[in-house]
């Protein structure tokens, strides 16, 4: 429990400072510094969060009332498809890679990422991939409109956008694989000598496992879309029954990628939550090793449950049963996590700063999303839920008040460390309460819509669904508008925030919880040029 602060005097006056940041804008193009690249990732993700959010606003505006109001059905379907792709590959994943870049070297006492040049390339490949994806919006035939899963044969009807969308997936895959390799090499090779694996902060652990998932699944997605490309342009028959292929094969391959992919977005979420909650509960994490094993178990299970996304496609009954039971197993390690966070808070000397508020909301609302997941794992019942708004409600609960809330929490938690300035707590709390209330107005009614039979990915609906859709849209608009507060806070904090000088540990006794709090605020450009000799470790 006792923690000793690492010495950090050498960080300020080191001869390494001959290599300070490059002057001018070129700094951001050719940088190899993990903090610069982390910042680039985070700002890019924030921008994409608003791009994807704008698409969501268009969707909710069209669904505000029955009938066609603003956009044509084709464009509406492009919006649902692009909203998902932008949010998954442009916002949530890059945001967590940005956090990994910023925090992992500082958390493990490393001078930088293991492969700094490749780190730069991962970021620019991401930008290239997203640019390619965004360009499809302006093409003859419109952006892909068959859903983010890109199922054939529907997606093969895409116009000129198809090859661009496919190559975008390739670029995003290359970016993710390089980022993941870098993170794994950093964690395994760059730790300070005293930082043993079981002393690593959980955020580092969850990213080690997430990195493995990414390397395993991104090539699979690349292979799947490559077959789409050859089916469309080179006369192959992978997904065409006439030639002996099978469109269902695509679904198997896609979800072999897709299920671990959703855990790529949730495991680092768990990691950040496990970092924040102990600080504000002023207690060590309840069960550190059980959290590590639970994360590893979830990652393992994620590879053997993919067909629960395909219960209605006509699987053999034995397949349905196997995937049903395997999926239910995930509730066990996930439960271990939720109980852990709860037990960490139990009898803690809690305070409720904005990062903690977002983290507590995450625990509650993610659990709700988890429970609906458990409902859908029951194959016979899933026949009713499949392709309805119930599914939409489920995965948005696991993504928005979970991953996105935790990303917000991470922003509030580490911004003072990064910038040396304190954010405006009042506006932060306002942002939290507006978000937490409106996100429920937005997504909770979608459970009712789904159970009543409203299908997903449709621009118009039967009159019976009108009321809940209008309420959901109102929640959506409030939620969307509230996020502008976050944008304001980020800009304000970078420019000086409240003007209050933050201490090195920022949060009371935070130095007991991680190496990053032993460094000065704001963090110098280069840290841990020599490894720290003593590391804080509040669990054991």
């Amino acid at each position: 429990m006792s923690a000793v602060t690492a010495e950090h005097g050498h960080d300020d006056h080191h001869d390494d400072h001959a290599h300070g940041p490059e002057k001018g804008w070129l700094r951001w193009i050719i940088t190899t510094n993990h903090k610069d690249i982390g910042t680039l990732y985070l700002l890019f993700a924030l921008a994409m969060f608003f791009v994807g959010g704008t698409m969501a606003m268009i969707i909710r505006a069209e669904l505000f009332e029955p009938g066609m109001q603003f956009v044509d059905p084709k464009f509406f379907n492009s919006m649902t498809t692009m909203h998902a792709l932008v949010m998954v590959f442009g916002a949530v994943m890059p945001a967590f890679v940005g956090l990994a870049n910023w925090m992992i070297p500082m958390m493990i006492g490393a001078p930088d990422m293991a492969l700094p040049r490749m780190n730069n390339m991962s970021f620019w490949m991401l930008v290239a991939g997203v640019l390619l994806l965004a360009s499809t919006l302006f093409m003859e035939g419109g952006a892909p409109a068959g859903g983010w899963t890109l199922y054939p044969p529907l997606v093969l009807q895409t116009g000129k956008a198809l090859p661009f969308a496919i190559f975008s997936v390739h670029l995003l895959g290359i970016s993710s694989i390089m980022g993941a390799i870098n993170i794994i090499a950093t964690i395994l090779n760059m730790r300070a000598p005293a930082m043993t694996l079981m002393k690593m902060p959980l955020f580092v652990w969850t990213w080690l496992i997430t990195g493995f998932l990414l390397i395993a699944i991104m090539p699979v997605f690349a292979g799947a879309v490559t077959m789409l490309l050859t089916d469309k342009f080179f006369h192959t028959s992978f997904f065409d029954a006439a030639g002996g292929g099978d469109p269902v094969l695509y679904q198997h391959i896609f979800w072999f990628f897709g299920h671990p992919e959703v855990y790529v977005m949730i495991l680092p979420t768990f990691g950040v939550a496990s970092t924040i909650i102990p600080v504000f509960a002023r207690k060590p994490l309840f069960g550190y090793s059980s959290m590590v094993y639970a994360t590893a178990s979830i990652a393992f299970l994620s590879f053997i449950v993919w067909a629960h996304h395909m219960f209605t496609v006509g699987l053999p009954i034995s397949g349905e049963l196997y995937f049903m039971y395997a999926t239910m197993l995930i509730a066990i390690p996930t439960g271990v996590k939720v109980f852990n966070w709860t037990a960490t808070m139990w009898k803690g000397a809690m305070t409720f700063e904005t990062p903690m508020l977002f983290s507590i909301a995450f625990v509650v609302l993610f659990t709700l999303g988890g429970f609906t997941g458990l409902m859908m794992s029951i194959a016979p019942v899933d026949f009713q839920y499949h392709d309805t708004y119930f599914i939409v409600a489920h995965f948005h609960y696991t993504l928005v008040p979970a991953s996105v809330f935790i990303l917000m929490a991470a922003g509030y938690f580490w911004l003072p460390k990064w910038t040396g300035h304190m954010y405006n707590e009042k506006i932060g709390q306002l942002h939290f309460w507006l978000s937490a209330i409106s996100v429920n107005i937005l997504f909770f009614p979608q459970h009712f819509l789904g159970l009543a039979g409203m299908p997903r990915r449709i621009p118009d609906y039967a009159i019976q669904f009108a009321d809940w859709n209008m309420i959901s849209s109102i929640g959506g608009f409030i939620f969307g508008a509230s996020q502008l507060l976050f944008l304001w806070i980020v800009i304000d904090t970078i420019k000086g925030g409240t003007g209050e000088k933050v201490s090195d540990e920022v949060w009371e006794d935070a130095h007991k919880h991680g190496l990053e709090w032993t460094l000065p605020s704001p963090v110098p450009y280069h840290t841990f040029s020599t490894p720290p000799t003593v590391i804080p470790c509040d669990h054991n």
């Binding site: 190899t32 001078p111 700094p116 490749m118 090859p163 390799i181 699979v220 192959t236 028959s237 030639g243």
Partner: protein, 288 residues
């Protein structure tokens, strides 16, 4: 695995990665335009590929120079090795998709089209007259009549070529460790030669398939899986042979010591990976 990072080399200005991204983006935009029938497509593709060649030459020259001037300590070497290992793992997963596709179609979807499982009615009403056999181009007889590729001609020869090249590669490595530069260069030359010979044999095999056997990428699921698996593998053989050529060139210039030769090791690992994939191909695509 934790290593001291006191002298870990952190490069400070990276210009090659941005050029790499620009090159790849240009190539892919060009390819997409080409597929869409746009006239600027091929020009863009060639421009992009040219950027990529310049980038690869520049970046690897930089790495080689840094390595030879002793800027990389043990810790950096470990990072590079980890990077290469995980990259090869990602490649394994990429090939796994196509092996999985072959398995799924042969064992599940083609038999289902023939009425297996609970698909008797589907077979009767949609595909009656289709008997599930392998190889097949499906109930639609997609691509017309074809002959499947046998295992005991060029493919067997290619197996021997690649297996031999694995041996010569290891022999070269022993030469490097024993400071026998002549053995290193001879071994590598043989490996590179065998690699390109493999590619030549495969080109002949493809030519025969297209001109004499009616077997094309469009020959239903058999043609699709056959050319996709062997094609991606052949591409990897080319890449591996080019990497080995660079290593050979560097060996001739006197690079590498018994203690410091990451580039050689990475190339050798890659080569053995390509070798093992071929064994999988020979068994599952040609023999079975």
């Amino acid at each position: 695995m934790s290593t001291s990072n006191t002298t870990y080399y952190i490069p400070h200005r990276a210009t090659w990665p941005v050029l790499a991204t620009a090159g790849l983006l240009t190539t892919l935009v060009g390819f997409a335009n080409y597929l869409n029938g746009s006239s600027i497509g091929s020009t863009l593709m060639i421009a992009g590929l040219a950027i990529l060649v310049v980038m690869l030459a520049g970046w690897f020259t930089l790495q080689a120079t840094e390595s030879e001037t002793g800027m990389y300590n043990h810790g950096v070497g470990v990072s590079y090795r980890m990077g290469m290992m995980w990259f090869i793992f990602s490649e394994i997963m990429f090939f796994a998709v196509f092996f999985g596709t072959l398995w799924y179609t042969r064992n599940l979807s083609v038999p289902w089209l023939g009425g297996a499982g609970s698909n008797a009615a589907t077979h009767e009403f949609l595909w009656s007259g289709f008997t599930a056999t392998w190889p097949t181009n499906g109930p639609g007889n997609v691509g017309g009549h074809f002959e499947p590729m046998g295992a005991f001609g060029l493919p067997l020869l290619n197996t021997l070529l690649l297996l031999t090249s694995g041996v010569t590669c290891t022999w070269a490595h022993h030469g490097l460790i024993a400071k026998n530069r002549k053995q290193l260069i001879q071994g590598l030359s043989a490996t590179v030669g065998l690699g390109f010979l493999f590619v030549l044999c495969q080109a002949i095999e493809y030519h025969e398939a297209y001109t004499e056997m009616g077997l094309t990428l469009g020959s239903g699921i058999y043609g699709s899986t056959f050319f996709m698996l062997t094609g991606f593998h052949g591409f990897h053989v080319c890449v591996g042979a080019i990497i080995l050529s660079v290593v050979l060139f560097r060996s001739a210039k006197g690079h590498f010591t018994p203690e410091n030769h990451f580039a050689f090791e990475a190339a050798a690992w890659y080569w053995h990976f390509v070798d093992v994939v071929w064994l999988g191909l020979f068994i599952f695509v040609y023999l079975m």
